[in-house]
């Protein structure tokens, strides 16, 4: 039962992070939210007894994904354009 | 039995400080003060949680299960050191970036760095 609570908390965080990724107009904030999303996804993999996948997601999500997103934002623009 | 108590106490302190840290980043007014709460308190809380795990590993080693609990304790310790180190550096980087991006500490009474930069 307590495992279910843990899982529920992590999954809730996951969905919130995903919604925030969509919500943020500031792409940098979205990238930060993506980092958090990646952490929580890895934690969920961990809870689902998949440590190999969790390490892979950790190694990728913690450093590299944020890095390439930030570089792409640096290469383009920081703010999403407002729809006219 | 004493070990159990120590573990409980360590876990309790750790969780308490983690909770305080989260509370701190929710309550404090600007990014620098939030960084105070984040860096110190959660790191400290995690240190205590890790201590609980290390103590648990130590008790199991006492009971004669050497190899796996030794590696548990040692790896936890490494994670701990790495976490403290990276958290401190990361906090510095963020504070510096926030200052460079022009965020002034809100209720600050003095800002020597800003004076130097100008």
């Amino acid at each position: 039962m307590i495992e279910l609570v843990v899982q529920g908390a992590v999954l809730t965080g996951l969905v919130i992070a995903a919604v925030l990724i969509i919500h943020f107009r500031d792409l940098l904030s979205a990238a930060v939210a993506f980092g958090i999303f990646s952490f929580l996804l890895s934690l969920e993999f961990y809870i689902l007894q998949a440590p190999d996948v969790a390490i892979a997601e950790a190694g990728i999500g913690a450093g590299l994904t944020t890095a390439i997103f930030v570089m792409a934002i640096r290469g383009t623009q920081r703010m999403e354009e407002v729809e006219e | 039995m004493i070990a159990d108590t120590i573990i409980m106490v360590c876990l309790g302190i750790g969780l308490l400080f983690n909770a305080l840290g989260v509370l701190g980043i929710l309550r404090f007014p600007d990014v620098y003060t939030r960084l105070h709460a984040e860096t110190k308190t959660t790191t400290f809380g995690t240190i205590f949680i890790s201590l609980a795990v290390i103590v648990y590993g130590a008790t199991r080693i006492m009971q004669g299960e050497t190899a796996m609990y030794l590696s548990l304790s040692v790896h936890t310790f490494i994670a701990l050191v790495a976490l403290a180190f990276t958290n401190a550096t990361g906090a510095h980087a963020i504070a510096r970036a926030a200052h460079r991006s022009g965020q002034v500490p809100k209720p600050a009474v003095v800002d020597r760095l800003q004076e130097v930069r100008e």
């Binding site: 279910l4 899982q7 529920g8 999954l11 996951l14 969905v15 995903a18 919604v19 990724i21 969509i22 792409l27 979205a30 990238a31 993506f34 999303f37 990646s38 996804l41 969920e44 993999f45 689902l48 007894q49 998949a50 440590p51 190999d52 996948v53 892979a56 997601e57 990728i60 590299l64 994904t65 390439i68 997103f69 570089m71 792409a72 934002i73 290469g75 383009t76 623009q77 999403e80 354009e81 729809e83 | 190899a67 796996m68």
Partner: protein, 114 residues
Amino acid sequence: MFFNLPFIVAALLVILGIITMLIKRNLIKMIMGLSLVEAGVNLLLVSLGYRAGGIAPIFTNAPAGVMVMPTVQAMTLTNIVIGIATTALLLSFVMVIYRMYGTANANKVRKLRG
């Protein structure tokens, strides 16, 4: 039903990613949506392999117990690598497009049409 939470969240992530790709006009945001879809698929894969009360499929110092299914984990690993490769390639494309077009808005990146 309630215990199917990981499946539901995985499906939700896929849908959120799809929504992002449909309504957001910024190319980087669209790629984030693509990554969300990918994360949802990964989560679905891993949770498909979970068995109640299972332990990780690693025999090193393992406690006794039934093991969760390993094949999906191998598949997920492969998919994660493919995902990072795809994301990097797409972001490189977006950077080049921005440099040439001066915009990363999908509404304006449309020299090819008709």
